[in-house]
């Protein structure tokens, strides 16, 4: 198939429409506005609906409604807008509703700036709203993955009835690269939405989508049922990329745009004769604990690189259970704060020198 030259944000929009998403609700914010721009233009051509809502809060609740009716639907925003959506995401989680939320992160806290950031990691993977839930979090590192993981996010979300978040940032959203679009093929075993409230259609049973459970023990049982799904996700849906880790003495771990920059640093290290690899989580929830634990079994020290002051590093350290040292190098997001491959290479050298 022909290779196209497109922006990361456009690839999300293309992947969503190809995957059968026919409802988009959103509100503009930099650096993600290419997504609604593309969808507003293209989704009507396939009979879909684009709504620019009055606010982020309205759009997440429209997503909740569309999803409750059984439709494949999405919203997108950037960090401050995603904060506003947390209440709705909590309600979707409690109501076991699928749906795609895209966060093309910008820097914060507060209004922050429009630069790339990975400081929404905690908010994304630990359950950003109230009530103790998890959502599926996918972290693409290329334009191609923006397309592929958007499709995957819909499938995983439908399969587990857990909302899915695509977590990227201004770098992966704005970068243009080659994209090979491919037709969406729905997994044959994707369960049909027998819970959707789309009219009785002659059935006698009543379907209710809700997150309110008042009877003795009801809510506790509901929470354990949700917990069991999160455990299933951990068991079956972990995805990661292991780059040159087989013979590595030292491993860098990073996700998304930071992983791309770190990959160049790993290439530099290899050219300098250092046996360095990269472990890149593709799913941030579920987190590739096992893969990291296996590296720790081999006694491999690590360096975690993030565009924040240290978030994923906590999960890396939990996964390796203090068996190996995990160093951290991060740059707090903001204008001019993107680390360079050269900078990360120096960190690799420094940490390896301290070990060997």
């Amino acid at each position: 198939m022909k290779r196209l030259f497109v922006k990361g944000n456009e690839a999300v929009a293309m992947g969503a429409i190809e995957a059968g998403c026919r409802y988009y609700f959103g509100y503009p914010i930099t650096p993600q506005s290419d997504i609604p721009e593309y969808i507003a233009r293209e989704i009507p051509k396939v009979g879909g609906v684009f709504i620019q809502a009055e606010s982020e809060i309205a759009s997440i609740n429209m997503l909740l409604g569309a999803s409750a009716s059984g439709a494949r639907a999405m919203t997108s925003s950037s960090s401050p807008g995603i904060s506003l959506k947390q209440e709705g995401i909590s309600y979707m989680s409690g109501s076991e509703l699928p749906g795609l939320i895209v966060n093309i992160c910008r820097s914060g806290p507060g209004l922050g700036g429009i630069d790339a950031s990975q400081a929404d990691y905690f908010q994304s993977v630990k359950g950003g709203g109230h009530g103790g839930y998890r959502i599926i979090v996918l972290a693409p590192d290329s334009v191609q993955e923006m397309y592929d993981l958007t499709m995957l996010a819909f499938d995983l979300s439908d399969r587990y009835r857990v909302p899915a978040l695509l977590l990227a940032d201004a770098v992966i959203g704005q970068v243009k690269e080659a994209l090979v679009p491919h037709p969406y093929v729905a997994p044959a075993d994707l369960p049909s939405k027998e819970w959707a409230v789309a009219g009785k259609q002659g059935r006698s049973d009543q379907r209710i989508v809700k997150s309110l459970y008042l009877g003795d023990g009801e809510l506790e049982a509901h929470n354990w049922r949700l917990h069991a799904k999160y455990e299933e996700l951990k068991k079956h849906e972990v995805r990661f990329e292991a780059y040159q880790t087989e013979d590595a003495d030292f491993v860098v771990t990073a996700f998304g745009s930071a992983a791309r920059i770190a990959k160049s640093a790993v290439m530099m290290a290899r050219e300098a004769g250092l046996k360095v690899g990269l472990l890149r989580p593709v799913t941030l929830f579920p987190f590739p604990e096992q893969a990291l634990s296996e590296l720790a079994d081999r006694g491999i020290p690590m360096l975690c690189v993030e565009l924040n002051t240290g978030q994923m590093v906590d999960d890396v350290r939990l996964a390796v259970k203090c068996r190996v040292d995990v160093a951290f190098y991060g740059r707090a997001p903001g204008a001019g704060s993107l680390p360079t491959p050269e900078e990360i290479f120096k960190q690799i050298q420094k940490n390896m020198a301290a070990k060997l």
Binding site: R3, F5, I114, V171, Q174, V175, K176, E177, A178, R260, I261, K263, S264, A265, V266, M267, L338, T340, P341, E342, E343
Partner: protein, 179 residues
């Protein structure tokens, strides 16, 4: 093979279009490419820059700390990025606007009166095509013809009437460095 390019100037000089065109042409030619733009919130006059990485294999970082080929369109860009050019690298600087550059001895610097040449080709805004042509005169990672047809590929049909003057500007830049 992996090569990186960095271009910087102010909004309205077409810095991003030049980078976009280089990356697009490379993709059409079967290479891998990344084009990463960075610009201010202003529509015109703000700082604009982009990084292009071309490779026949994997591309790691779309962001480069010390780029090996650098195109500087204005004095502000020169001040900020000339010191960042990788040792042994190549820099093309627009001498129509950049007047007092203290030339580094550890890189190769070519001064080109790109704004004047653009005006001569028909419009000051053709500076991006002059600079890109001059780059191709030194580095044919993609061919002159491929870039010209690439331009026709990325420009909307309604702007195709501007192709001849753009091609003229590309040729002028090319001739300047490919002597």
């Amino acid at each position: 093979m992996i090569q990186d390019f960095f271009m910087a100037g102010f909004g309205g000089q077409g810095v991003l279009l030049a980078g976009n065109l280089l990356a697009y042409t490379a993709i059409e030619a079967g290479l891998n490419a990344s084009f990463f733009p960075a610009y201010g919130v202003e529509k015109r006059g703000g700082a604009a820059n982009c990084t292009v990485v071309l490779s026949d294999g994997d591309i790691g970082s779309p962001v480069i700390g010390h780029p090996s080929t650098v195109l500087l369109f204005n004095p502000l860009a020169a001040e900020k990025y000339y010191p960042q050019v990788k040792v042994g690298g190549f820099c093309l600087a627009n001498s129509s606007l950049i007047k007092d550059l203290s030339i580094r001895s550890d890189i190769e610097t070519v001064m080109i009166p790109a704004t004047d040449m653009a005006i001569e080709a028909g419009d000051a805004r053709l500076i991006n095509m002059v600079m890109l042509g001059a780059l191709l005169g030194r580095n044919q990672i993609v061919s002159l013809d491929a870039v010209k047809s690439g331009l026709a590929g990325i420009l909307p049909e309604r702007n195709h009437r501007f192709l001849p003057m753009n091609n003229k500007a590309i040729d002028a830049g090319f001739a300047f460095t490919n002597r």
